[in-house]
Amino acid sequence: MIQKKVCMVGVYGTGKTSLVQRFVHSLFSAKYHTTVGVKVDRKAVQVGDTPVNLLLWDVEGSTADQEIPSSYLRGAHAMFFVADGTRRETFDQLFDLREHARAAAGDVPSIVALNKADLKEQWLLTPADTSKLITDGFHVLTTSAKTGEGVEDAFRVIAMATVAPSSPTIQPPVRHGN
């Protein structure tokens, strides 16, 4: 059995927990976020013939004056960043978040989920923004916790990235909000 520690990181209110709630196996309640600051869930993904258990450390969203504790990120095999496509500042903060994560966990595979793809009329990110992320080394997907769009893909992509981080086959399909 392959297990991987994946940290889900994002600014407060980007919908991380919604992604987790609908698509993963949870044992602990959401109150762990407000008490311990992290909640561990499991997502089983099949990569080829190999079953992979992603242990998702759903870290409490960072705010302007509260940083994510480094100890929660330590030893992660991959980073799952979440940004809100309808809130530009969550996109801007991705780069700082990645630096913080890199300092704590080293250079590990990471993807960015641009969430809330269902809110097309409020979508603020442009194709240029997405390109900037890609050139900056991120794997980018658009997701919607509400419709489920792209979520399973995101978990599969990150599982593949952790099992074979150097695999050139990982080239996630990028779709724009509009």
Binding site: I2, V36, V40, P69, A76
Partner: protein, 594 residues
Amino acid sequence: MSDDGAPGTANAGASGDVSVRELAELRELLFGGERRQLDELRRRLDTAELSPEELAEKLPQAIVQRTARDRQLALALAPTVETAISESVRRNPHEIATAIFPVIGPSIRKAIAETMAGLVNTINRAIEHSLSPRSIRWRVESWRTGVPFAQIVMRHALVYRVEQVFLVHAETGLLLAHVPEGSDTDADLISGMLTAIGDFVNDSFEPKQTGELRTFAAGDLTVLVEPGPQAYVAAVIRGQPPNTLPVQLQTTLETIHLQWSNPLASFNGDCGAFATTAPLLEDCIETVLSTDQAARQSGLQKFWWVVPVVLLIAAVGWWWTRSARRWNDMLARLEAEPGIAVIRSERSWGKWNVTGMRDPLAANPAAVIAAAGIDTTAVVAHWEPYVSTEPALILARARRVLAPPGGVTLSLNGDVLSATGRAPAIWIVRAEGLAPALAGVGSVDLSRVSPGLPADMETLANVVEQQHVQFAPGADRLDVPALTTVTEVAAGLARLTTAARRSRYDLALHVVGRADPSGTESENIALSRRRAVAVRDRLVALGIPTTHLVVDAAGSNDPLPADVPAEFARLNRSASFVVRAQPAARGGGTERAR
């Protein structure tokens, strides 16, 4: 090598060049091999150093040979090795800690175990000397089973069960192994969360230190965490874990670090290599399973009958004690009863047998037995009649034989039967004859029984005797109220005399003079006499025959009782009257006194 050709330098020209060349060739042919060897030797002498390759070749052998010869090498290397280690610790303590972790744990444990052994002995002694009810109970158990007391204490104190053991990768929090297998399908989530909580505690309360969450408890569940550099073990325990459990977990962890060092170092999410740690982890579960609970239960089951037997014995004992107490109480009551004497008492076949003697005038024994709360049908009593000389029985017998009239009270003082009150003269005469014949009566005293007067005389005598003639302090002269009183007395006495004559009684009127307590007694006697005489003289003057009058001087010795203390002195400055009457037919005898 050109300097070697010095002999040829003196010849110039072509022929010279040829000879030199030929000579060189000749020399090469003759001494070529030796010459190269010579050059090599010279080079070695010039450089006088070993190449790294040569040193690598020679060093191990050289070390072995020198170490065998003396300690010089060790002495020479010691400072360097010390510096190297301290430098390594300073730069990267984690590396050294990881390397020596499997070694240092057992050493520390051994040292601590020796220290603790002394402490445990002290505690054992303390327990042995304690006298709590629990320790006494354990001591009895130790004596009963033959197991040393200290072991009994341990067995009772250590009731616990290790339910699960997790082996968790320290850095990622990923689950490496979990036993019992399949007992919890979410063990991976729990190990992740456990790691997160450990991080949380560390971040929150010890931000600058490298402490670890070691133990936490909820209800009777305890989670013990034994940390290691690359992995940690967490055990879930129900009950009170013993002090030996952390040590066992630590030993297991050290073994895992030693035998699985490569998989741990290169761990990248594949926990397949750690499946083989399961037997080690299962040892933790098997070894510490406490069997004490079951043993204690079987011990209890073996003695289940003790409780009802004890209850039965207690009930029988209570019943026996109660009936014995009632029996003794009944015997005491019978003994205390006048006219009843118990000679023998015993129990047989649920019946009580009592034999004794009873005065016919004594109380009914059956009533006494019933009053003691005993069923009279369970008592077989045999009473022999006898005459009791107990005072109560003598009195009862006297009442039965003499049948005293209502105004007479009988009492017994020693063997003297006394009677007080007023009775017809005929009863007094009969009692004087009968009483000495009663068993237990030695003599009879009827002096305090006054013969009753005819009803008309009694009324008139009462009128006279209720009169008091009052005097002023120190005076014996009759004043006007006193004269009036004396006149009334004279009239009453005249009527009484007429009635006495009709009933043929002889009369005497005693005039008793009194004085109040002030003054000397002799003066008071004289004063009281003068007062009595004054009254008597006045009565004589009023026509009462002197022969009927007697003067008594009581002084202040026999005062009249006063209802109010303030009245006492006034009441006793007086003269009062006592009527004495006796039948004219009889000479002397009883008289009436007040």
